[in-house]
C-alpha cells in the first residue's frame, strides 16, 4: 500500500508538470494577447505603445523564459500580478475560491443526497409507476442545460414572487447564506443528481440479482438491511467513480451557473481571465483546478480500498 501511495504521488507530480506545460503553451497558441485586447478596446493600435506595454508585462520575452519565470514563481508561492487589475494574482484568486468551493460542494451534496436514494428507490421499485416517474425526472436532468435551467429559475422567481435569488455577498444569517447558494447549487447539481441516480439504479439492479442478496433475504434480513447494507455497499463503487468525475465536470457547469446567477466565483473569473488573456490568472487558476482534480481522483482511488476490501493496492 505504501509503495502504491508513493507511486501515485509521483505520478501526480508528473501529471501536474505536464498540465503546467500544456496550460502555458496552449494559452500562447491562442491568437492575441492582453495587449491586443487592450488596444482593441481602445480602438487603435500604436506599435510603440504596444511594444512598451508588452515589455512592461514581460510577454516580449522568449516563451521558455516566460515559462520558467512563471513555474519558478509558482513553486516559490509567487503567483505574479493580474495583467488587468494589476493586483497580485493570489489576491484576486483566493477570495473567489471559497465561493466556488461552497457552490461546488453544495451541488455535489445535492447530487449525492438526491441521486443515490432516488436511484436505490428506482431500482428496488423497478417497473413500477414510481420507477418510471423517477426515470423521466432523471432524463430531464440530463437533458436540460444548466444555463437554461438557471434562467428558468430566475424568470420564474421574478414572475411568481417578484424576487430574484441573485448572489448576496454579505448574508446576515446562515439561512441567507444557504439561500444564496442553494438555488444555483440545485441548478448546477440537477444534472449530476440525474446521472448519479441512473448509475445508482443500474448498479443496484445488477447487485440485487446476485446470489449473496438472495442468501441475505433467505437468512431473514429486512428489506432495508438488504438494500442499504448489502446491496448499496456493493453497488456504490461505480457511483463514487461517477461523483469523482462529476466533481471535475462540475467546473464547466459552474462557469455557466456563476454567470447566470452572477456569482463572483473562480469559474466565471476564469472565463473572463481567458477572454482578457490574463496569463497569470489563467495559468495559476487552471493549475489550482488541476491540483484539485488530481487530488479528487487520488481520493476516489483511496476510497475504493475503503469500500471494497477485495481491492488491495499491493505491488
Amino acid at each position: 500500500m505504501f509503495a502504491y501511495l508513493v507511486r501515485r504521488l509521483f505520478l501526480m507530480l508528473v501529471t501536474l508538470f505536464g498540465i503546467s506545460v500544456v496550460i502555458f503553451f496552449l494559452l500562447r497558441i491562442v491568437p492575441g494577447n492582453i495587449v491586443d485586447i487592450l488596444f482593441a478596446a481602445a480602438g487603435y493600435v500604436d506599435p510603440a505603445d504596444k511594444a512598451n506595454l508588452e515589455k512592461e508585462l514581460g510577454i516580449d520575452r522568449p516563451l521558455i523564459v516566460q515559462y520558467w519565470h512563471w513555474i519558478g514563481g509558482f513553486l516559490r508561492g509567487d503567483f505574479g500580478y493580474s495583467y488587468v487589475s494589476e493586483k497580485p494574482a493570489l489576491q484576486e484568486i483566493l477570495p473567489r475560491i471559497p465561493i466556488t468551493a461552497k457552490l461546488a460542494g453544495l451541488a455535489l451534496l445535492f447530487s449525492a443526497s438526491i441521486g443515490i436514494p432516488l436511484g436505490v428507490i428506482s431500482a428496488v421499485k423497478q417497473g413500477t409507476k414510481l420507477d418510471y416517474a423517477l426515470r423521466v425526472v432523471s432524463l430531464s436532468g440530463l437533458s436540460l442545460p444548466s444555463f437554461w435551467l438557471g434562467l428558468l429559475i430566475l424568470t420564474a422567481s421574478v414572475a411568481m414572487f417578484g424576487q430574484m435569488p441573485i448572489f448576496n455577498p454579505n448574508p446576515k444569517t446562515w439561512l441567507e447564506a444557504f439561500a444564496t447558494y442553494a438555488v444555483p447549487a440545485a441548478a448546477v447539481g440537477f444534472r449530476s443528481a440525474a446521472l448519479t441516480m441512473r448509475i445508482t439504479r443500474s448498479s443496484m439492479l445488477e447487485v440485487l440479482r446476485q446470489d449473496y442478496i438472495r442468501t441475505a433475504r433467505a437468512k431473514g434480513a429486512s428489506e432495508a438491511a438488504v438494500n442499504y447494507h448489502h446491496a448499496l455497499k456493493n453497488a456504490i463503487l461505480p457511483v463514487i467513480t461517477v461523483i469523482g468525475i462529476e466533481a471535475a465536470f462540475l467546473i464547466g457547469g459552474l462557469i455557466v451557473t456563476e454567470t447566470v446567477f452572477n456569482i463572483p466565483g473562480v469559474a466565471r473569473f476564469l472565463v473572463e481571465a481567458i477572454r482578457w488573456r490574463d496569463y497569470p490568472i489563467v495559468q495559476n487558476l487552471v493549475m489550482f483546478i488541476a491540483v484539485v482534480v488530481v487530488f479528487a481522483n487520488f481520493t476516489v482511488d483511496m476510497l475504493y480500498a475503503v469500500f471494497d476490501p477485495r481491492i488491495r493496492y499491493t505491488d
Binding site: D36, A40, V45, S82, Q163, P264, F269
Partner: protein, 532 residues
Amino acid sequence: MRSVWALAAMATLSVLTASTATLAGEPKQGGILRMYHRDSPANASILEGATYSINVPFMGVFNNLLIYDQHIAQNSPDTLRPDLAESWSWSSDNKKLTFKLRQGVKWHDGKPFTSADVKCSFDLLMGKSQQKLRQNPRKAWYSEVNEVTTNGEFEVTFDLKRPQPSLLAMLASGYTPVYPCHVSPADMRTHPIGTGPFKFVEFKANESIKLTRNPDYWKKGLPYLDGIEYTIITNRSTAILAFVAGKFDMTFPTHITIPLLKDIKSQAPNATCVVEPTNVSTNIIVNSSSAPFDNIDIRRAMALALDRKAFVDILFEGQGDIGGTMLPPPQGIWGMPKDRLETIPGYGRDINANREEAKKLMQKAGYGPDKHLAVKVSTRNIAEYRDPAVILIDQLKSIYIDGELDVVETANWFPKVARKDYMLGLNLTGNSVDDPDQSFYENYSCGSERNYTNYCNKEIEKLFDVQSQETDIKKRRPLVWDIDKKLQEDVARPIIFHARAGTCWHPYVKGVTIMSNSSYNGFRYEDVWLDK
C-alpha cells in the same frame, strides 16, 4: 363673517398644499443608487480608456475644465457649462484659449487643485510629460495644441497652432477629466483620485464598483446621493431580470435593445424608459488596397446595394437613424438634412433602382448572374457586429456578391484590420462628442491611427481644416455637410445606420438625463436623487 373664515381657511389650505407640493419636488439627500454594469472595465482610468464602460462609473469621480449641461439631452456649443474652469475666453486671433480656474477645490486626498494639475493632465494627453499613459487613444484630439501654459495657480492657457473652436467640445467630453499631478497614471488605473462629487471606494474586477459621496465637494449641497454601487453582471438577461425584480434602481445606460425594452415595459410597467441615439454608427470598412475592392466600381456597387431601412427595421424595429458620418438630426447637430442625404448614391428611396445601377457596375467589373464575386465579410464576434453583418451578406447577394461571414475574436480584430487582412469588415464607430473634428480627423484623415481603411484624400483633408477653423456654426454646418457627402460618395467607410438604445429607471430615481447625441458625456450624477 362666515365667508371670511371660509376664505381664510381656503387660503391657508392652498398655501399648505403649495408648500407640500414644493417639498415633494425638492431633491432629497441620501441613498445609494444601485445600478448594474454591463461588463468589467479593464481599469478605472478614463484617460486610458475608449469605452463608456469606464466613463459611466468613473465620470462622477472627476471634474473637467468644462462640461456639457447634464440636464440637456443634446450636447451642443450652447450647452457648455463651466466646471473646474469658472470662465474661458479666446484671444482675438482665436489661437489662445484661456481658462480662469476655480479656487478652493480639493482632490479627494485633500491636496489642493491648481493650474499645475491641468497642465499635467494635458501634457500627459499630448505625450509631453515624463510619465506616460499606458494607452493614449485620444492623443490626436490635441494635435492642434502647441502647449498648455500656467499663469499663476488659477489660470491656464491653451496655445493653438490655428483656431479650433471644437477644442471646447472635446474638453467638455466625459473622456477629458482633469487628473491630479501627484498621482501616477498607474495608480489612476487602480485607485482614481479626482475632485468630483463621488470618491472611489473599490473596484473588484467582475464583481462591483463602489463610489461614495464626497462630503467636501466644491458644489455645496451636492451630490444628493450617498454613493453609487455598480454590480457587474455580464449576462444581459440576468441583469434585466434583476432590474425588474427591484435589485437595481437603474439599468446600465443605453444597454437595453429595442426588443428587450418591450419586455421591461411589460414586466415593470412603472419604469421610466427612454430611447436615444448612441452616436455609434454601424459601417463597412473596405480594403481598397487590394482586389477586388481596389476597383471603385465594385465599391460603389456595394454602397448602392444597401437597404438601410431594412437594417433599421430588422435590428431596431424601425427605431434607428439613417445618415452619413455625422449623427443625423434632430438629435445630431451636424448631420445632413434628409433631402440632402437622399441625393447621395445609395441613399435614395428606390432600392430596386439603386440595385439595378449596382448590377450594371458589377457587370462592368466582370461579374454577373453567372459569375458571382466571393468575398469574406469579417467582423467581431459580438452580437452588435455579427447581426448586421449577416444582413449585409444577404443584401450583397442581390448584386452578385456572395459573402461569407468571418467571425473574429475581439483580441484578433484590430491586429487583423491593421494588417489589412480583410476584404470587407462590419465595424462600429462610437463618437464621444457630436463634433466634426473628432469624427473627421479620427476616422478619415491620412495617417490617423483610427483610420482603419487608410482612406486618404488630400483635397478633403484641406476641407477638414477649413471647417475646423470656422467659428460661426451656421457657416460651418454646410461645410460639414459637403464633406460628409463627399465621404459617402467616395465610399470611404459607408455608414449603414446609427443605433439607438434604451435606458430604464424606477420612478423614484430623479434627475437622470440620457444624452441624445453622445454615450460618453452624461454620467456625472451629482444631482441625481432618490425619492424614497
